[in-house]
Symmetry: C2
Subunit: 352 residues, 2 copies
């Protein structure tokens, strides 16, 4: 899936210290990534003492395609975003994002603290003209396909206009990352009729109909496969995500309990093992790792804190795809052009 043409001189800044496992996971993921994407380079950001030896080894193999970008601090996984902003100006998370701002990278990836990543990315990169609030988008499996959902928690009190912007950004994100021409955009609601839902959602549906998006209306079930993008308030999106994770974990637990009931059931599990393994691979959450922070002047991708090297590699791939297909420029152009902006109390930012 490498697209060497568009990846020309693509550089990813990777926060190597973030996440539960730090360099133990990020460096092996980077090595595999450099191997599979010959057109992309990596800036490995973090504490030199933790990275030096391994980066030197990778340089012998990949030459100038990997470089160390020193950062003396690390943002804690539970650290308050305000504290990270104030006291961690030389953190790997922040330095990675600053590489985009400085023009040395087109995308940044971190498995660190979500709140700190969003706050620092907004502060350092700024929001694109016409976008009031950046959003977090992720991809999930869906019937016969997959679905992108946004927002997943960056914005807990959204207006209809915010949801309209999420629809536009989500559509452009899927176009960029998956080269889908007119992604179907749905609005998460508790009924399919227009009269359903709360005030904000009803207004958002009306606004989305005024855009030139391929808006398919209300969607009740994000897993139905009816839409390529599902738009929702960050509170609702986060509940849907946590419900998904919680239910999947509970079902896996119960299934394991049933197969571990006794010797006979264990034998049955053994007999069905190849099928169960294949099933597990199809719904493996690691494949869906890598949430994109959209609406910023740069591509920022958030990996799960607990990601392993395979999962972290997925986040690296997603960042490379988004940057290679110029996600930021697409959103910038769209917001500067065609769409009329809905009346909103927020001051209009003139597009540059």
């Amino acid at each position: 899936m490498t697209d060497s043409e568009s990846e020309g001189s693509l550089v990813l800044a990777v926060d190597c210290m973030g996440g539960d496992h730090g360099p133990q996971v990020t460096l092996p993921a980077i090595e595999a990534f450099l191997r599979r994407r010959p057109g992309v380079s990596v800036l490995a950001v973090g504490q030199p003492e933790a990275l030096e030896a391994e980066v030197a080894r990778l340089r012998r193999r990949f030459g100038g395609r990997i470089e160390l970008a020193p950062a003396s601090q690390v943002v804690g996984m539970d650290e308050a975003p305000t504290s990270a902003m104030r006291n961690k100006k030389d953190s790997s998370l922040r330095v990675a994002i600053e590489q985009i701002k400085a023009g040395r990278a087109q995308a940044a990836v971190s498995a660190g603290n979500t709140g700190a990543l969003m706050s620092i990315a907004r502060f350092v990169l700024k929001t694109l003209p016409g976008i009031d609030r950046p959003a977090i988008a992720t991809v999930l499996p869906a019937r016969g396909s997959r679905v992108w959902v946004l927002d997943l928690g960056a914005n807990v009190d959204c207006t209809a206009e915010h949801l309209r912007q999420f629809g536009i950004m989500g559509s452009l994100l899927v176009s960029a990352v998956e080269q889908v021409e007119r992604p179907r955009v749905g609005l998460l609601n508790i009924g399919t009729e227009d009269i359903k839902g709360n005030q904000v959602v009803r207004e958002a549906a009306a606004l989305l109909r005024t855009t030139d998006l391929n808006f398919v209306g209300n969607v009740e079930d994000i897993y139905s496969g009816q839409a390529d993008v599902v738009v929702c308030d960050g509170f609702v999106g986060n509940v849907a995500l946590k419900t998904t994770e919680g239910l999947a974990q509970m079902l896996a637990l119960i299934l394991r309990e049933e197969f571990n009931r006794n010797l006979l059931t264990r034998l049955m599990g053994l007999a069905a093992y190849p099928v169960l393994k294949h099933f597990k691979a199809r719904v493996d959450p690691r494949r869906y790792n890598g949430a994109v922070l959209v609406g910023l002047r740069g591509v920022v991708v958030k990996s799960h804190g607990g990601a392993d090297a395979y999962a972290f590699g997925q986040a690296l791939d997603r960042a490379a795809e988004a940057a290679a297909h110029r996600l930021v420029e697409r959103i910038e152009q769209k917001m500067a052009g065609a769409w009329p902006r809905a009346a909103s109390p927020v001051t209009e930012v003139s597009s540059s």
Copy 2:
């Protein structure tokens, strides 16, 4: 689990026409219910021509414990609540609820149209003093246990005070239906810290702390088993429910696909069949059928429209439990007594 003492002269009014299957499902469910709960009687509500013969047969078996309550109309599953209110004054759904109002039954059960059921129940029975909005509560499987969730869609724009009332009603519901003394009440939020979530949820957490409920704070995952009751806005609750249903259906579909891949995988499925069957039984949604409309002057239980006789029977049992353990009186007493009411723009209703 029959509690003959408290079921003394308990009567359930059952809408026999509602749901996708009508009398075909409701009557066999009633027969099994009368058999397993010797202390309870049933008013079978619906069109005499559809019910007469079967009710006569049941009367020969159960004597005065079953009686036909005629209703000439049926509310359509997709009919607008306003239309049902205006044009279906003699519907089985409405007549069933009127049995409570008339003192001929203590609870009503219907598999009909949710919106119409809620509207008609509110109109006919009225809301209890101190309760601004009735809510819909259901039980779901959770880790090592089960969890009750409310609201599931009756109220899409809730205030913190509404959520406080849902907490009180949910707690009393679990006490009544399951004889749990101090159910753990959690607030659905997108983080466990107090500062997380939107404005309404943060205020609701503060209000819930002022009650004498066993409030355990924010809950991120309804399936975690951390709470007996999880309180949320109806929009969010409905999204969580639909996400659950959608994900479960998708996973079941993928698992089936994997086992149907070829002859070998089918044989593996056969080998593991007893375990898979047991697993399915444990998470069978039919076991959790029967959502309770709480906050009304009467027990009203909503069955899934597509319920089979087993599932409909679960809804009947839930209604009998709630009525036998005086759910309505418990809520009435609590709201009239101990708890201070939070300031709210809604006019205080004096308790009777």
